[in-house]
Subunit: 167 residues, 2 copies
C-alpha cells in the first residue's frame, strides 16, 4: 500500500469509528488528520485535505478543542491559527474516557438512581422495576468508578491495569 492510500484509509476508518466514542465523522477525521501530521495545520489545509467546508471545519475544530484533544498553535508573525492534536495515545484515550463519562455516563447514573428510588407499592411490576433499575445503577456506578480510577493514572494506565488484571 502507498502512503497516500494508507493515509486515506486511516482517516476514513477513524472517521467511521467516531460513533464508538460518540463524535461525528468530520470531527473524528480532523483529529485523525492532525494525529498523523508532522506539523500543526491551518483551517485552509484541513478543508483542502478532507474536502470539507470552512464552516464544517471551524465548528468541528472548535468541538475538538472543547473536548480538550486539539489545541491552537500560534505561529509567530502569522495571522492564521494552526491546530494540533494530542499525540500521545494513552493521554488521548484518557481524555476521551473522561469526557464520555462526564457527558453521558454520569447523567444516566443520575437518572437510574432517581427512577430506582420510587416508592415500592407492593405490586410485582414495581418490585421488578426497582430491582432491575437498581442492578443497572450499581453496574453503571461500578463501571464508571473503575473508569475514573484508570483515568486518573496518568502514566501507562492501560498497560498497568491489564498487567494487574492478568496477574
Amino acid at each position: 500500500m502507498e502512503m497516500q492510500q494508507a493515509k486515506e484509509k486511516f482517516i476514513s476508518t477513524w472517521g467511521s469509528l467516531g460513533t464508538l466514542w460518540g463524535i461525528n465523522k468530520a470531527m473524528a477525521q480532523i483529529q485523525a488528520l492532525l494525529f498523523v501530521s508532522t506539523k500543526p495545520l491551518s483551517t485552509e489545509e484541513i478543508m483542502e485535505e478532507l474536502k470539507i467546508s470552512r464552516g464544517n471545519t471551524s465548528m468541528n475544530v472548535r468541538q475538538l478543542i472543547d473536548w480538550g484533544i486539539v489545541s491552537k498553535e500560534l505561529v509567530p508573525g502569522e495571522r492564521r491559527e494552526y491546530f494540533s492534536t494530542e499525540k500521545d495515545v494513552q493521554e488521548l484515550a484518557r481524555i476521551i474516557a473522561q469526557e464520555r463519562s462526564r457527558r453521558e455516563i454520569q447523567p444516566v447514573i443520575k437518572t437510574l438512581e432517581e427512577v430506582s428510588s420510587i416508592k415500592d407499592d407492593g405490586t410485582a411490576a414495581t418490585k421488578e422495576f426497582i430491582k432491575q433499575t437498581k442492578a443497572l445503577h450499581d453496574l453503571a456506578h461500578t463501571a464508571d468508578s473503575m473508569l475514573g480510577k484508570l483515568v486518573n493514572q496518568k502514566q501507562n494506565w492501560l498497560t498497568k491495569s491489564l498487567f494487574k488484571f492478568i496477574k
Copy 2:
C-alpha cells in the same frame, strides 16, 4: 415519582443511551421494556407500549436476538411468539462488550495493522504516520485484549476487576 412516569423515563433514557453501545433508539427501548417486565412480551404488547409499528418492532427484536440479548419464549398452546431479555446485568454487559469488540473494534485493529505496515520511504511524513498508527494499533489491541479477558470471566467480572485494580 410515579411508577408509570419512572418507567417512561427509564425507557427513554435507556433509548437515548443506545448510541453509547452502538444500537438504535427503538432497539434500546425494546430491550429496556423487556428488562423491567415481569413476563415475556409479544410483538403486539411491545408495539402498544412503545407506540411503534409492527415492522419496526419485528426488525429490532430480530436484531436484539442476533446480538444474543433477547430470546424467543414459546408459550405452550399459544401461536404467537413472546420475547424476553437477559435479566442479569453482568451477563448483559458481557455480551454487549463482546459484540461491540467483534463488530467494531476488531475490524479497526485489522485496518490499523494494515496501514501501519506500509513501507518506510524515509520521509518525515511517512515516519510519523507509521509511528502514530502503530501506537494506536498497540493501544487498541491492548484495550481489546483486556476487554476480552474481562468478558471471559462469567461471574462478577466487573466487581472483581475493580477490586484488583484498587488493591
